[in-house]
């Protein structure tokens, strides 16, 4: 998967590239609007991460030109100004998602993965088993090591999210948004409590712990390395 990063702040660009590369993507960085637009139009990318404030042509200009040239590649734009106007403008111009600076890298990674997955939804539903944990979506049932575990609706939704995106670090804000439709930064530890409760049902009493806490970043469900 190839990602183009258009970002004029050299440090931000460098770390975005490093983080995305380490997450398994191929990333290019352009440091101004003109170069970025040129790359976006000539190369083939699966996703563009676009800063709004850019020298040369600004982010809006790059986005407009890309869409005019018929490039339908998903665009995630970054803005320092979390004004409704900015968001609305970006989405109207055809951006697919946005992040307000400062953002957590895990949040960016989660959004990038969501956008990339949007094109090919087929595989998502198939993952219903991680290690000995099974998720029976149609019947809303969860089994671990053949034993049925009773979950509340929200616990089930939380587990489903973690399993669907196994191996990914899910930031708390993403979990709040996906499971509870709470789209703001809450300064409470609700997510931690909810995960703790889910973990008590899923992992307690088993040697293999599936839900991992990524300190400072969020939660991840994966089969641990043996």
């Amino acid at each position: 998967m190839k990602i183009l990063i258009i970002e004029d702040e050299p440090k931000t660009g460098k770390f975005l590239k490093k983080g995305l590369t380490e997450a398994g993507f191929v990333a290019d960085v352009a440091t101004d609007g003109r170069d970025g637009l040129h790359l976006a139009l000539t190369e083939s990318y699966d996703l563009v991460v676009l800063d709004v404030m850019l020298p040369g042509i600004d982010g809006w200009g790059v986005l407009r030109e890309m869409r005019r040239a018929g490039k339908q590649v998903p665009v995630l734009f970054l803005t320092a100004r979390d004004q409704v106007d900015d968001r609305v403008k970006g989405l109207e111009l055809g951006a697919d998602d946005y992040l307000v600076k400062p953002f957590a890298f895990s949040e960016l990674l989660a959004r990038v993965r969501t956008l990339l997955r949007r094109g090919n939804t087929g595989q998502v539903l198939e993952i219903t088993k991680v290690a000995d944990l099974e998720l029976d979506l149609p019947r809303h049932r969860v089994m671990r090591a053949g034993k049925r575990i009773a979950l509340t609706v929200k616990e089930f939704a939380l587990l489903e999210l973690l399993m669907r995106r196994q191996g990914e670090v899910l930031p708390r804000s993403l979990i709040a948004s996906q499971v509870w439709d709470m789209n703001f930064d809450s300064d409470t530890n609700v997510i931690d409590v909810a995960v703790r409760r889910l973990r008590a049902k899923i992992d307690d009493g088993f040697d293999v712990k599936l839900i991992r806490t990524m300190r400072g970043m969020g939660y991840m469900l994966e089969t641990p390395e043996p």
Binding site: D82, Q83, V84, D85, V100, P102, A104, T152, K154, A176, W180, D181, M182, N183, F184, D185, S186, D187, T188, N189, V190, V193, A194, R196, R197, R215, G216, M217
Partner: protein, 462 residues
């Protein structure tokens, strides 16, 4: 814009102008009346003379020789009046009598003045005469008319009058100037309290915003101004205090995480460590950074809301549904402490869903935080004609009355000691809630009594 003329100059000029007008009018009246009086005096004198002449002419028997008449006339009129000229001529032009200067007599004999509108003034050889001329019947020969003309030399009086008027106008001009100056002095004196006040106001500095101007010795007209100014000072002082508290609060709030990060990082770097230690350091830093990031974005939101830069994206929302969703969200947190969440009632409002979620979430999490284990947080929704009313009540320690009005302020915490080390709650939640509610045209208030705290939010339904 043109620089407006000073108040002192304006009032002085107006005063001087008015005085000049009044004096000018008085002068005009004086001149007119004085002149008329003078002319009236001449008229009466001339009429008197004319009467004397008529008597003399009528009473003279026809046999009386002319020299006798002349003598009588001279006696009656001329002797007592050196400046007078008189002619009496018969209708055939024969001069029966004449006295006075030759040129004047010549003019009178020409008889041009008879029938002219009064008063007849004749100037000749730098002298001014007032003339009265008429036909009179002569006693001799009986009934024969004679032309009688009398000229009165009024040069001295007229000159005196002109001189006097000149003096009058001059003194009036002086008086006008003097009045202007006096007016200016009076106005300056009268406006002195204004100067005093501007001096006092000029001395108000940011450090003395809490010291109101004294109203003692201030004239009644300025009292209201001083009071208004003092009210403004109070508001300014309040904003200023809040602003400086705000700056120091934010510095303080950011200093704690920065300090934590620096200490931890310095300690970590002071020795060689294994990867796990470095990782722990980075993770700890990340937590502090997240905290700082949240403070900054919350502050930014509040700053923007303060300056009306945030526009709510209004849509129809069902408050009952939103509360139910929030209950779902907080269910894990509440049940971990065996706290029951109960809601009743319903209402719809036109508001920004995200913001309302955030506002209610802050109050609700606050309520849950202070509710003792096993108790119930109750949310009641109601509505009237134009408002939705939402109350969130929780049992728990009372908020002392002196703190109640301030709990919606930024970084305000009832328990000052909790400022330190509490990483979860930075004390901006209720400020944000109030900001959101007010942005929607609603109100928020809190009351606390008998181990029960209740937040009431009203939102216009629109």
């Amino acid at each position: 814009m043109k620089n407006p003329i000073s108040l002192t100059a304006r009032i002085s000029l107006q005063f001087a102008g008015t005085a000049a007008c009044v004096l000018f009018a008085a002068g005009l009246i004086f001149e007119r009346v004085g002149g008329n009086q003078l002319q009236e005096h001449y008229r009466m004198e001339l009429d008197g003379k004319m009467e004397l002449v008529r008597n003399a002419l009528e009473s003279i028997p026809s046999s009386t020789p002319i020299p006798v008449i002349q003598a009588r006339l001279r006696e009656a009129i001329v002797i007592s009046h050196p400046g007078i000229a008189i002619t009496v001529a018969a209708s055939d032009g024969t001069v029966l009598f004449s006295a006075g200067k030759a040129e004047v007599i010549k003019h009178l004999i020409e008889g041009a003045e008879i029938g002219k509108p009064m008063p007849v003034i004749w100037a000749f050889d730098h002298r001014t005469y007032r003339i009265r001329a008429r036909h009179l019947a002569l006693g001799m020969p009986a009934g024969q008319p004679a032309n009688v003309a009398i000229a009165l030399d009024i040069t001295e009086e007229m000159e005196l009058m002109a001189e006097f008027m000149k003096l009058l106008w001059f003194s009036m001009a002086l008086a006008t100037l003097a009045l202007g100056w006096l007016g200016w002095v009076a106005v300056r004196k009268g406006l002195a309290p204004l100067h005093d006040m501007s001096e006092k106001v000029a001395n108000v500095s940011a450090q003395q915003l809490d010291k109101p101007l004294s109203t003692a010795g201030v004239p009644r007209e300025l009292q209201e101004l001083v009071l208004a100014f003092n009210r403004m000072l109070v508001q300014l002082h309040d904003s200023f205090r809040r602003l400086s508290e705000f700056s120091s609060d934010i510095a303080h709030e950011l200093r704690t995480p920065i300090n934590n990060m620096m200490m931890h990082t310095q300690v970590t770097l002071s020795h060689d460590r294994d990867t796990a230690d470095y990782r722990a350091n980075l993770q700890s830093n990340l937590e502090e950074l997240e905290r700082m990031s949240r403070i900054v974005s919350d502050m930014l939101f509040l700053a923007k809301a303060d300056n009306s830069l945030v526009a709510p994206n209004r849509e129809e929302i069902d408050l009952r549904e939103e509360v139910a969703k929030l209950f779902d969200f907080y269910e894990a947190l509440a049940s971990a402490r065996h706290i029951h969440l109960a809601q009743s009632g319903t209402a719809t409002v036109c508001a920004d869903r995200l913001m309302i979620q955030r506002a209610l979430s802050n109050v609700l999490s606050n309520a849950i935080r202070f509710t003792p284990e096993g108790m119930t947080v109750e949310v009641t929704i109601g509505e009237n004609a134009d408002q939705a009313i939402l109350s969130i009540a929780n049992p728990g320690p009372e908020i002392p009355a002196e703190h109640l009005p301030r709990i919606f302020e930024r970084f305000y915490r009832v328990d000052a000691a909790r400022r330190e080390g509490n990483t979860e709650n930075v004390g901006l939640g209720l400020a944000i809630t109030r900001s959101i509610v007010e942005m929607h045209g609603g109100t928020i208030s809190a009351r606390s009594a008998k181990d029960q705290t209740c937040f009431a939010i009203t939102l216009p339904r629109r």
